[in-house]
């Protein structure tokens, strides 16, 4: 992995900041670490937005290390009084959220549009 590799991109859709995850696989430790740093940096520094959406449309595989990052990110968002949504999760990965019961911890929406329009 190159040190300059970008793992996320941030867009602004109305009143929401949308973070696109660019990796197809979130399984390798250094990749997950860098991805997590980018997510955390965005959530910690976002200004003027109460809604942050992490879009997983590109992601086909995710390990428990990535779940670890998301749980920590959720705590960071909570401390900053931001509403964190996850959307467009691959069915196989969504099943991982369900069996770990993390679907009850996160605000998960099927599509980005649903995440944009969900109540805070």
């Amino acid at each position: 992995m190159s040190a300059s590799t970008v793992h996320t991109m941030v867009r602004y859709e109305g009143e929401a900041a949308v973070i696109d995850c660019l990796d197809v696989k979130l399984n390798e430790e250094l990749t997950i670490q860098a991805w997590g740093e980018e997510l955390t940096n965005t959530v910690q520094n976002i200004g003027g937005y109460q809604r942050v959406i992490v879009n997983f449309q590109n992601v086909k595989f995710m390990s428990s290390s990535a779940l670890r990052v998301l749980i920590t990110l959720n705590q960071t968002a909570r401390s900053r009084k931001l509403a964190l949504f996850l959307c467009s999760i691959n069915p196989n990965i969504l099943e991982v959220f369900k069996i770990t019961k993390l679907d009850s911890l996160f605000k998960i929406r099927a599509t980005e549009a649903e995440a944009v329009h969900s109540k805070l």
């Binding site: 390798e28 779940l67 691959n90 991982v96």
Partner: protein
């Protein structure tokens, strides 16, 4: 170095005290058996070539995308545990990984050189009190992804076995839905 063979490597012809006879019906070479071994240092990203080769082999044998995802998840979590929790990232300690498979079953053994861990006393990550804890889901996911999972007593070696999900377990549009005892395998993702 990845070492692939098309004959069984007697991976699970192990002493009975190592696996409790769990693999007494191990692959016997009567069908088209594929096996591979790799020993790699405890460095992030290692073992990926064996994971990829395993998934490719299962895919050519017609295993479903759901099963492939679950096998990948179990292998990735097993390797990560061995590197992170077993060998504690010590590059002088190695992970030893064996895979043996045929059309109807995959057997996996992942061994580290660490101190072991109390695999019998892992907290349930789905307990309400543990949901917000970042760690502690690796073994849980392995157990949910594979058909059977064992450890040696010390906890330095994990054994996994999986059979492919029967085709009739998947919902087919226009067909009468069949029941399955494993809902996690049965309901989703045939359209990937």
């Amino acid at each position: 170095m990845l070492n692939i063979k098309t004959q069984p490597i007697c991976l699970f012809g192990l002493p009975s005290d190592a696996n409790g006879g769990a693999f007494e019906n191990a692959l016997d070479g009567s069908s088209d058996v594929w096996s591979a071994h790799e020993t790699f240092p405890s460095v992030s990203g290692q073992g990926e070539s064996l994971v990829e080769a395993t998934l490719h082999e299962l895919e050519t044998r017609g295993w479903s995308p759901v099963d492939l995802f679950q096998v990948q998840l179990a292998l990735e979590e097993g390797i990560a545990n061995a590197i992170e929790h077993g060998n504690k990232h010590d590059p002088n300690k190695f992970v030893h990984m064996d895979v043996e498979l045929d059309d109807a079953r995959i057997l996996v053994k992942i061994q580290d050189e660490g101190e072991g861990f109390p695999h019998w006393a892992l907290p349930d990550p789905t307990d309400e009190a543990n949901l917000d804890k970042p760690s502690g889901r690796g073994v849980f996911l392995i157990r949910n992804s594979m058909t059977k999972v064992w450890f040696n007593d010390k906890g330095t070696c994990i054994f996994m076995e999986k059979n492919p999900t029967p085709l009739e377990s998947f919902s087919i549009e226009g067909a009468q839905e069949t029941s399955s005892s494993d809902e996690s395998n049965a309901s989703e993702s045939v359209d990937e």
